[in-house]
Each structure stands twice: as structure tokens, then as C-alpha cells.
Amino acid sequence: MAGPVKSRLHRAATSPSQRGTEESPLVKWLLIGVAFAFLSLFLLLPLVNVFAQALSKGLQFYLNSLTSPDTHAAIRLTLIVAAVCVPLNLVFGLAAAWAVAKFEFRGKSLLVTLIDLPFSVSPVVAGLIYVVLFGRQGYLGPWLDTHNIQIIFAVPGIVLATVFVTFPFVARELIPVMQATGTEQEQAALTLGASGWRTFWHVTLPSVKWGLLYGVILCNARAMGEFGAVSVVSGHITGQTETMPLRVQALYEGGAGASGAAAFAVASLLALLALVTLGLKTLLEWKQAHDYARAQQTTPEAGPAIAKRTASTWP
């Protein structure tokens, strides 16, 4: 870091007319170079490596390892878990965001804090919570046992752990969008005779659709990729309670040779999912910013209070 600092001082000394806030081109390119080098080394290189390793034994091996029965089961389980968790969190997120953005009530800040809880709790702890609750030695274990319900080391446990870990995504995305939109459009719909349900479908939902989709995509990515919490509750039963991330670990621990390449093949699917998510996320961010700019144009003379509110709550 001494380099850029020194050169900046040097330049400042030689050209006092230069604007105080402007960095010299050298510093600018150096910083950009450092950022790129860092990202290449720690993110791009491993990503490329995943695909390289996956295809190291040829395309046929790659396809075979993806279609092996156990891997197949893992992919299916991952899809099932996501198919249950994402709609659940979609509904929960909408309800929570609605409550926070459109009503004033006691305990609102507590609710917002609780929504953020999964972000601050280690996923392993999240998994353990359920083991302690529903496990054989847990509080509800004996009761579940007598009724022949299995949650831990079974699909319900995996779903529960995943719901816990992914529930902030939709709510977190929607709260600022809904706060920025306010309630006037909904009230206008009511004065025009629309029922609450109709107002929700025709006015509320269209105005938050991009934010909602954004939250759903992030939620889905996390639901499919979650390892820690799921690992604790799954029991790692190959072909039954193994999700894709667990399958990657199992295969990798199976040895460096063929099994290792198979691990990378499954990992490459997850990496692909990440790339698609990233692409969609960027697209939606652009869409949202675009709509937001339009909304700003719609009320350019809105009072300063409104302008301030949207500015401070927009992500």
C-alpha cells in the first residue's frame, strides 16, 4: 500500500492544482488491478477449477456421475426441499413484509430483528436447534417416537432446517420495496370499490413483483446450496437424506480418483446454479432500478418527507 500512497503524495506535490478528491490514474488502475487479481485468485480460479476437475475424466464420465442412482436421488431431494421451502418462505415473506411496511404496531422492531435471526445464527446451530427439539434425545423425541413420526435424519428435518436458514430472503427484499411504494395506491383501489383481495392481486403484487422475484431467487439458491444446517439434521443416508451439497462431500471423502471427479461433477451443477442466480439477480436489480427511476419520475414533486423515506429505505 506504500506505493500508491507515496505516488499520490508525489503527484499532489507536483500539481497542486489537481482536485483534492481526484486520485491519480496510477492509483486508480492499481486499485482496480488489485481488486481483479484478488477476485480471480479467490473466486474465478476455484470456479474454473470446479469445471476443470469435473470434466477431467471426460464428458462421458461427467454425465455418468450425474446420472448415478445416488446422485440422482440427491438432486431429486434438493429439488423437493427447494420446492417446499421456497413457496413457504414466499408466503411468509410477503406476510411479514406487509406487516412491517404497511402497519404500525408494538414490537415491530422486534419482528424485524427476528426476521434477521437466521443471518446471525450459525447454520450448524440452526440444525442443532431442531435436533435438540425433535431428536431421539430431544424434548419432543419420545412423543414423536410413540407416534412413529420421524423428523430428524429424515426429509421433514431437512425441510425445517432449510426453511429456517432461508426465511429472511423474501421478507428482507420486500420490506424496503413495500415501504417505498407506500399505501396510497392500495387506498386508491379501495376508494374505487375494490376488495382487499382484488387490491392485493392487481395493485400490490404488480408493484413489488421484481423485488419478490429477486427474493425468491436468492431464497432458492440458498435452499439448494445449504450445507451446515442440513448436514446436522440429515444423518447422511446415501440415496435417502443426502442433498446435493452433502452428496458432494460424501463423494469427495470417498477418495481422490474417480469419486473425486464425481464430487466435482455434482459441485459443478451447484456452481452452475450460482451463476444462473447471479445472472438473474443482476437482471432483476436492473429491472428494479429501472422501475424505481420511473416511479420517481411519476412523483417528482412529491414532498421531501416521501423522497427522504424512499431514499433511506431503498437497498
Binding site: E184, A188, L190, A194, V203, T298
Partner: protein, 367 residues
């Protein structure tokens, strides 16, 4: 439709937004709810619409008590301050929304929307989105949307608040014309007294949740019931006087002190038009220096600085100003022809004291 507000109060937690307000609106009237911000006027509008429920009191629309009738069933048109257009819908769909909700036929509602677009000077804009319209166009769409299903009452919250000064004047004229053409009972909220005076048939003045006065623009201007209304409507010069030797005075200004106690304090107010200015220094007893001249069109407003440093405002026609050969910095003499006692220390105001007091010519020359 007529509207009747009876002893209505609205509490938001500890805050009393509307305090025991009663007034009635006649069929086909164009009424302004006027007051400073936080005065409760928007809450009254929302209570009439059904967007808020009164804590106490009753609201009647054409004789029917509507307290328990939901906003959807009240058959009102409401125009929000920032218009609240559905930004994901075209102008056509915005206006047709209420018709669709009320199950109008497709052809029927299409012709209604076309009719409104024509009436509101928006033909050809049906397929545009709100963000593609100017501020004035957006407002007209919002009003068209509110009127589409032929409501019995049109309610507008600060209709001219969100547009710039030039368009505001056009919109005022346009609203008056629209009301004249459609003759729908209309209530609008404003904090701008000039706007209320110019547009409304009658004005209801609010302050801190309470109704201060209701009357025609002329009534509230010429016969304000209290100091708040007098100060809020139009420009008012206010002086604090003290009675000494039987004369109420402030420095060099003197007013008759009959009926007042020695040492009593009182506050009087007078309109700028009640101040008569002369360039002849011997014509009136009071002297002043003309400090600033404001050109308001046909009328001018001048600020006079008294020897004590006190500033008072006077109003005169442009011709009179030219005739007197006045200019900033000139010394003038003046008299106050009419004034009103606004408040009196230690005694409630009797109606006869609060009424406009004409200074007799002899008195006028005497001060």
C-alpha cells in the same frame, strides 16, 4: 349529495387530530377545507371517504349515516395528493379500474373512459403509463379515475400541492369549470388561503383539529370570527396596544380608548387596504418612510416604516401610486381607516368590540 358532519372527533393514540367538528355541505357545492398543516383537514376528508373511522360523532351522506359503511360502498371519488395512480397500468386501465370493479360491461366502460379522456383533454393518451405524463396530466387522470363510476361526492386532497405555480393556476380554473360542468358535490383540502378563496363556494377553516369558521370567501375575509381566521385569511397588520391617558397607543400610533381600562393591553388588526397613504406630509398625522414596493399586478403592496422602526403593510391601486408620485425611500403620511380589536387583556371580546371599527374622519386626523 349533501354531507353532514356531526360532532366528529378522531383520535390517533394520544393525538386528537379532529376535535368535535360539525358542518354540512350542500348538494353541488364546491367546498374548501383550509388550515395550516396538521390542522386536521386531511383527516376530515379521509373520514368522509371512509379511509378513517371517527372516534366519536356521525357522518351522513345524503341523509344516510355512513359510519359503518366501508369505503368501497360509499360511492365517493377520492384524489390523493400525489395522485396514487397505478403505475403498472396504462391511463386507460387506471380510469377503467373502478368500472371493472363495479362490473361495468367492456364496451360500456370503454366508451366511458373515452368520454372522460375527451372531457379532460387527454385524448390519445390512453395507452401511456403514468410515468410518461406531465404533472398536470397525471392529476387529470387521477380526477378522471375518481369520477369514472359517477360518484356522488368528489374528494380531493391538496389537489394543487404537487404541481408548479404556472400549472397550478391552470388547474384551479379548470377545476372550477369542471365543477360547473358536472355539478358534483366537491370537497378539497388546501393550506393555501388564496387557492381556497379563488376556487371554493364556501370555506371551512381548521386549526389544531378544531373548526374555526365556515363561510363564503367574502364572509371569512370581511368578518373573521377570531384572530386566527383574521390572520390566516389574507394579509393582516397586527399591533399590540396599551391604554394610557384614555388612549390606546403603540409609540406614535393612537386609537380611541373608550370602554378600556387604564394600563390595559389589547391587540388590534387591520387589512392593508385600510391604510390610506398620502405623499402630502401634512395630510395625516402619522409619518412613515416607504421602504419597499411589491408589484402584485393591478394592486401594489407597500411597506411603511414608522419612526419607531415598526413596519406596516398597505395596499393601493397602481394608478393611485403613480398619482401620488411615490417611490421607495419617500416620506409619507398615513391613516388607518378601519381596524378590528382582536384580543383584549383580562376580558372576553364582546361582539361589538370585535366588529370592524371605523375611525371617524376627525378621529383619523386626530391620531
Amino acid at each position: 349529495m349533501s354531507i353532514e358532519i356531526q360532532n366528529v372527533s378522531k383520535q390517533f393514540g394520544e393525538v386528537t387530530a379532529v376535535n368535535n367538528v360539525s358542518f354540512s355541505v350542500k348538494e353541488g357545492e364546491l367546498l374548501a377545507l383550509l388550515g395550516p398543516s396538521g390542522g386536521g383537514k386531511t383527516t376530515v376528508l379521509r373520514l368522509i371517504a371512509g379511509l378513517e373511522v371517527p372516534t366519536r360523532g356521525d357522518i351522513f351522506i345524503s341523509g344516510q349515516r355512513v359510519n359503518d359503511i366501508a369505503v368501497q360502498q360509499r360511492n365517493i371519488g377520492f384524489v390523493f395528493q400525489n395522485y396514487a395512480l397505478f403505475k403498472n397500468m396504462t391511463v386507460f386501465k387506471n380510469i377503467a379500474f373502478g368500472l371493472k370493479v363495479k362490473k361495468w360491461g367492456r364496451a360500456e366502460s370503454a366508451s366511458r373512459v373515452a368520454e372522460l379522456l375527451e372531457l379532460f383533454g387527454l385524448p390519445g393518451l390512453g395507452e401511456r403509463y403514468p410515468h410518461q405524463l406531465s404533472g398536470g396530466q397525471r392529476q387529470r387522470v387521477a380526477i378522471a379515475r375518481a369520477l369514472a363510476s359517477k360518484p356522488s361526492v368528489l374528494l380531493l386532497d391538496e389537489p394543487f400541492g404537487a404541481v408548479d405555480a404556472k400549472i397550478r393556476q391552470e388547474l384551479r380554473d379548470w377545476l372550477v369549470k369542471l365543477h360547473h360542468d358536472l355539478n358534483v358535490t366537491t370537497i378539497f383540502v388546501t393550506h393555501d388561503q388564496e387557492e381556497a378563496m379563488e376556487v371554493a363556494n364556501r370555506i371551512v377553516i381548521f386549526s389544531r383539529g378544531a373548526l374555526e369558521q365556515i363561510g363564503t370567501p367574502r364572509e371569512v375575509y370581511e368578518a373573521p370570527v377570531n384572530e386566527f381566521v383574521a390572520r390566516f385569511i389574507g394579509v393582516l397588520n397586527v399591533l399590540e396596544l396599551e391604554v394610557r391617558n384614555g388612549v390606546a397607543r403603540l409609540n406614535e400610533l393612537e386609537f380611541p380608548g373608550h370602554g378600556l381600562l387604564e394600563g390595559q393591553r389589547l391587540r388590534i388588526g387591520f387589512r392593508p387596504y385600510a391604510v390610506q397613504v398620502s405623499s402630502d406630509l401634512s395630510q395625516y398625522r402619522c409619518r412613515a418612510v416607504l421602504r419597499h414596493t411589491f408589484f402584485l399586478g393591478v394592486m401594489l403592496r407597500v411597506e411603511l416604516e414608522l419612526p419607531s422602526g415598526l413596519m406596516i403593510r398597505a395596499r393601493m391601486a397602481k394608478e393611485e401610486y403613480a398619482q401620488l408620485g411615490l417611490a421607495d425611500g419617500h416620506a409619507v403620511s398615513f391613516q388607518i381607516r378601519q381596524y378590528r380589536v382582536l384580543a383584549r387583556e383580562g376580558a372576553p371580546l364582546a361582539p361589538e368590540t370585535a366588529a370592524v371599527q371605523e375611525l371617524l374622519p376627525t378621529m383619523g386626523e386626530g391620531i
